[in-house]
């Protein structure tokens, strides 16, 4: 039952990600990416990190997908299709896939060849309270830095995307 669940999750994530990167219609590939992100959230849930699963849904499906879709719609040209496939693009695509395959060819045997120490018998328990305490005490500085980065990134994004009406 749960074998089937994990298999489905993995197949869903890999399949939707692979198809998303092959499609020519951008909106569809973004929506497939959303499925893939939802699958990753399901994986987190399956592994017992429920807080992360919900954070993943909130951030990726709620926010990143929206920003991406807005960007897609803002950069769309109606007089031409989304993407034109030209000979150089073909060779680039082939090169990209080859590099990906090469990395996979290195990674997979490496993973299979490694002996990991035995896993703990029970799933590690990790309550939200514990997470909060860890964030505030052990990782407090990091939290502050992340907050700062997010603020700067937000301001930067606003400045970058704001249209300069006075200039044009």
């Amino acid at each position: 039952m749960s074998t089937f669940a994990l298999g489905t999750i993995i197949a869903l994530i890999l399949g939707s990600a692979a198809v998303a990167l092959c499609l020519r219609r951008l909106i569809r590939s973004v929506l497939l990416f959303v499925i893939s992100w939802a699958g990753i959230a399901a994986f987190y849930l399956w592994a017992g990190a429920e807080f992360l699963a919900f954070a993943q849904v909130l951030v990726y499906i709620g926010a990143v997908s929206m920003v991406t879709l807005f960007a897609v719609l803002l950069t769309r040209r109606h007089d031409q299709p989304d993407l034109v496939i030209e000979p150089p693009a073909r060779s680039r695509a082939a090169a990209g896939v080859t590099i990906g395959a090469c990395v996979a060819a290195v990674l997979i045997p490496a993973i299979l060849a490694t002996e990991f120490p035995a896993a703990s018998a029970t799933a590690p328990t990790f309550s939200v309270r514990q997470l909060g305490l860890d964030l505030m005490e052990q990782h407090g500085v990091v939290l502050l830095v992340v907050g700062l980065i997010l603020t700067v990134a937000l301001l930067g994004a606003v400045v970058l995307a704001a249209s300069k009406e006075d200039a044009s």
Binding site: L14, F33, I99, I108, F116
Partner: protein, 103 residues
């Protein structure tokens, strides 16, 4: 072959898909999404090691993923803002046309 192996294989494959996509596609948004996918694959590894790794008491895995998600959100926001700025400037989002630094 343990659960950890399965999860690592899975995340490795996801990483390679993201890599191939980021390299093969020329649309800036798709390249960004490919990079997001690679980030997600790395996050999967943290969770896999936390869940199926050797016994431990710390929650560093999920916390690291949490930070990674936050940074990924920032990256997506800035990246897509850049894409929009480039599009406004050159009316194109194809990366091979953006070979010049000088506008």
């Amino acid at each position: 072959m343990t659960m950890l192996h399965v999860c690592l294989l899975f995340s490795g494959l996801l990483f390679c898909i993201g890599l191939a996509g980021a390299l093969a596609r020329s649309h800036a948004i798709l390249v960004l999404l490919g990079i997001e996918l690679m980030l997600n694959a790395a996050n999967l590894n943290f969770i896999a090691f936390w869940r199926y790794g050797p016994p431990h008491a710390s929650g560093s895995g999920p916390i690291f993923v949490l930070f990674a998600i936050a940074i990924a959100a920032a990256e997506a926001a800035v990246g897509l803002a850049l894409v929009i700025a480039i599009y406004r400037h050159r009316q194109s989002v194809r990366l091979q046309e953006e070979a010049r630094l000088k506008g």
